[in-house]
Symmetry: C3
Subunit: 358 residues, 3 copies
C-alpha cells in the first residue's frame, strides 16, 4: 500500500487539487523566478519522489545529485545552489533563502485544510449550563460537561470529554478522544491532538497509617493561547496552585508534565520528555526527546537540553546541557571522549600505580 | 488566562464555596491555634498567591520570607517555625507537624468532590449477562461487555470500554476513555485515569517461517485493591500467567508494565517508567521517573531506583541504585565524580604512559 | 482477586473449555510423547502454578527443581531435559525442541479467540461515501469518516475514529479508541491496540515573526501488512512524504514514531522507544525498550540497540550498539568497566601527576 508517495490532496482532506504556476510560487515565497514561469504544480514532494506536477526544494548541497534525476517541475533553491539547479535542467527554479521554510507559504496554497462544518452533532451530550460560542463544531459522541464553555469557532471532535466548568478558547481545536478534566483551562487557538489528557490528578500521596493516602489535587491546568500539544501527552493539574503551559509553546507526543509545573512561553518540548513536579521551564527553552527533569528545578530562559538528558539541578539561561546527570554540553563531550579513551589506558595506569606502590 | 491562581471551588467541581474558621482548621489537623480563631478561609493556596480568605502553609525555613508579603488568613506551620509566622503578623497560625501533610485533612473540607450521581446513562451499552452492582454510575457512551460485572458504587465514566467477563470492584473509578480488555480484573477502590489500557496483549512473538508469529496472550492483568493508575498508562496481560499490580500501589502517567510482571504492594512508580516482561517488583519499592528495568529481574523489597536508572540485574532489598547501567547510588556517584575529573587528567596520564613506554 | 492464577478460558473470551490429550499435544507440536498419552489438559500454566489439568513447559535447567512440586499433567520439555521430567514423575511428557515456542501450536487449540460477530453497530456513524467491505465488524460509537474504506472482515472496535479517506485493509483489527487521522493508510491483518494514534501531525515549526509557526503536515502515515502496534503508541504523518512502518514489523506500547520515519520490514520495536524525524530503520532491526534515536540517522539492516540506548549517528548493519551516546556494545562495556574502576585509581593518578609536575 505504500507504492509511490504521490500525495493525493483528497487524502489530506482538501477540496480537490489546486494548482499554482511557478510564477505564483515565486510570488508566494518572495523569491526570484528562473526558467519557465508558466509551469504548473499541484503538489509538493521531495526531490527523489517528485512527479512532473510537483514542487520540491533543494535542502542542502549534498542533495544536489538528486536534482539530475528529479522530475519536479519547480524547485525552491537557496541562492548558493541556484546554479546547480539551472545546470540540472529543472524547468523552473525559485531562488529563495531557506527553501524548506518557504514551504509555509506554498503548502497551504496547495493543500486546503478540510473545511470545518460548524454544528453540534445530534449525538453530542451537552451539560446543564454549558455555553457554546458561535460557529462551534462538536463532533459525534463528544461530552460537554455542566457549566463548560466553548469559545467561538472552537472545534471539539468525536469522543472528546470536556469536564464540568472547563473553558475552551476561541478557535481551539481538540482532536478525537481528548479528555479535559474539570480544572482544565484551554486558551485560544490551542490544538490538542488525539488522546491528550489535561488536568488529570497529579501524583501526590502521603504515607500514613500503612498506606499511600491520596492528596487531593485542586489546582487547575492552564494551557495558554496558541499552544499545541501532541498525541497522548498528559498534563497534570496542580495540587494547590496551577500547572501552566505558557503561550505559544509547542509540545510533542507522549510527554508528561507533572503537577505544579510552570512552562514558559514559546518553548519547544519534544516527544517523551518528562517534567517532574514544580519544575519551572522558562521562556524559549528547547527540550529534546526523552529528556527528564527532576522536581523543583528551574530551566533558565532559552536553555537547551539534549536528547535523553537527565536534569538534577537548575540549568542556567541560554546554556546547552546534556547527558546524565546533565552537564554543560562541552563538559559532557569532554567527559565522554575521556571515557572512551580510558579502557586503553587502564592497564598502563594500574601498572604504574603498582610500581609506585601507590 | 492564568491571572491570579485563585482557585474557584466551582472549577474543582465543588458544590459551592465552603468555609472554615482557623479554629476549625486547627481541630481538623490536630494542631495548636495561635492568633484569631474566628478568621475564616474558603480556599487553599501557596503563600505567594494566597488571598485574604485562603489558608496556606509554610513548607520550609527558606520560604519564611514569603510570610511577610503573604495575605493568607491562616498559615499552617511546623513548631520550629511558629515564631517566624507570629513575627510576620499572620492573623491566625496553626502549629502542626508536617504542615503539607496536614492538608489531607483540610482540602476535602474545603473542596467537596463533585457528588457522584448513580445511574446508568441511557446511551451506555450494557452487554448480555453483565452484572451491575448497586448505585453504580455508568457514563455516556460507555460500553460494558458481555458477562462483565461492576461492583457496588463503581463509577465507569464516558467512553470507557469494559471487556467481556471483566470484573470491576466496589467503589472503583474509571475516568473517561479507559479500556479494559477481556482478561482485566480490577479491584476495589481502584482509580484508573483517562486513557489507561489494562490487559492489552503483551509483546510476544516467535520468529518462524520468515515472520514474527504472534504468541497469543491468555493470562490476565490483575489490578488489586486501592491501586491508582495514571493517565495513558498501559498494563499488559500475562502470556500464560497473570500480570499483577499489588494492593495499594500507585502508578503515574505513561508507564509501561509488560506481560507477566508482578508488582508488589504499596509501590510508587513514577511517570514514564518501563518495566519489561517477567520482572518482579517487591513490596514498597519506589521507582522514579523514566526508570527502565530489563526483563526477568527482581527489584527487592523497599528498593529505590533513581530517575532514568537502567536496570539490568537484580536490585537488593532496601538499597538505592542509580545510573545506566544501574549501580548502588554511592558507587554511581563516585564513578560520575571520577568521570568529570578525568578529562583534566587524561593528557597527563597519556604523557606518563608514553614516558614509561607503557 | 489474584488467588490462584487458574486461567478460565471464559475469561479469555473462549467459547468454553476445550481439552486435549497428551497425545494431541505431542502431535500438535511435532514432539515425542513419553508417559500416559491419554492424560487430558484444558489449560496452560507455568510449572509452579499448574493444576492437574494444565499443560506446562520446562524453560531451562535451572527450573528443573520446579518439576518435583508441579501438578501439571503434561510438560513440554527439550530433549536434554527429558530425563529430568521423567524422574520427576510427570505423568506425560512431550519432548520437543524449544518448548516455549511450541506453545504457538497448543495455545490456540485450548483457547479459542472470541468469535467475531460481523455487523455494524447501530450507533456507528458512517460517513458519506465510506465503503465497507464484506463481513466487517464496526463497534458501538465508532466513527467512520467520509470516503473511508474498510476491507473485508476488518474489525473496528468501539469508539474508533477512522478519518476521511482512510483505508483499512482486510482482516485488520482496531481495538477500542484508536484514532486514524486523515492521511492514515492501514494494511491487511494489521493490529492496532487501544489508544493508538496514526497520522497525527508531525512536530514541525518554523520560528518567524516571534512565534513558532506551524508547518502543515500533508504526508501520510502508511502501516503496511501484518504490522502490530501496541497500546497508546503514536505514529506521526510525514511532512511532505510519508511515514512508513514496513510489513511484518511489531511495535510495542507507548512508542513514538516521528514524521518522515521509514521503518523497514520485520523489525521489533519495544516499549517507549522514540524515533525522531526522518530516521531510517532498515529491515530486521531490534530496538529494545526506551531507546532514543536522533533525527536523520540510519539504523542498518539487522542492527540491534540495547535498552535505553541513545543513538546520535548511523548504526552499521548487523551490529549491536548500546549506551549513551550509543557505541558498539563491546566498546560500551569496556568503557563502563573502566569507569567503575576509575574511582579507586583517581587518587593514585592525581598523586603521580602531582609528583611529576604534570
Amino acid at each position: 500500500m505504500t507504492g509511490a508517495a504521490r500525495l493525493d490532496p483528497s487524502v489530506a482532506g482538501g477540496e480537490g487539487a489546486r494548482s499554482l504556476t511557478a510564477g505564483d510560487v515565486a510570488r508566494l515565497v518572495g523569491g526570484t523566478l528562473a526558467g519557465d514561469g508558466a509551469v504548473t504544480v499541484t503538489g509538493v514532494a521531495p526531490l527523489d519522489r517528485a512527479g512532473e506536477s510537483d514542487v520540491s526544494f533543494l535542502a542542502a548541497a549534498r542533495y544536489a545529485p538528486l536534482l539530475e534525476r528529479s522530475r519536479a517541475a519547480v524547485v525552491l533553491v537557496s541562492p548558493d545552489l541556484a546554479d546547480a539547479a539551472a545546470a540540472a535542467a529543472v524547468r523552473a527554479r525559485v531562488v529563495v533563502d531557506r527553501p524548506h521554510e518557504a514551504l509555509l507559504a506554498v503548502l497551504p496554497a496547495l493543500y486546503a485544510p478540510p473545511p470545518r462544518t460548524p454544528g453540534v452533532h445530534h449525538t453530542a451530550v451537552i451539560g446543564t449550563g454549558a455555553r457554546l460560542g458561535s460557529d462551534v463544531t462538536v463532533g459525534p459522541y463528544a461530552v460537554i460537561g455542566d457549566g463548560a464553555s466553548l469559545g467561538d469557532r472552537a472545534w471539539v471532535d468525536a469522543h472528546c470529554v470536556v469536564g464540568a466548568g472547563v473553558s475552551v478558547g476561541e478557535d481551539a481545536r481538540l482532536y478525537p478522544g481528548v479528555t479535559l478534566y474539570a480544572g482544565a483551562v484551554v486558551g485560544r487557538r490551542v490544538i490538542l491532538h488525539s488522546g491528550v489528557r489535561v488536568a488529570s490528578d497529579g501524583f501526590g500521596y502521603v504515607y500514613r497509617d500503612g498506606a499511600h493516602q491520596k492528596l487531593p489535587h485542586v489546582g487547575r491546568c492552564v494551557v495558554e493561547d496558541d499552544v499545541e500539544v501532541g498525541a497522548n501527552t498528559t498534563l497534570d493539574r496542580g495540587s494547590i496552585d496551577d500547572t501552566v503551559i505558557g503561550a505559544g509553546t509547542k509540545i510533542d507526543n507522549l510527554v508528561h508534565v507533572a503537577h505544579n509545573v510552570r512552562v514558559g512561553r514559546l518553548c519547544l518540548i519534544m516527544a517523551q520528555v518528562g517534567i517532574a513536579g514544580s519544575v519551572r521551564v522558562e521562556d524559549g527553552c528547547v527540550l529534546a526527546g526523552q529528556v527528564g527533569i527532576a522536581g523543583h528545578h528551574t530551566i533558565g530562559k532559552g536553555a537547551r537540553l539534549a536528547a535523553q538528558a537527565g536534569v538534577f539541578g537548575d540549568i542556567p539561561p541560554g546554556e546547552t546541557w546534556s547527558g546524565y546527570p546533565a552537564r554543560p554540553h562541552r563538559v559532557a563531550l569532554r567527559a565522554q571522549a575521556a571515557l572512551f579513551k580510558l579502557p586503553s589506558l587502564i592497564r598502563g595506569i594500574e601498572r604504574l600505580l603498582g610500581e609506585r606502590g601507590a
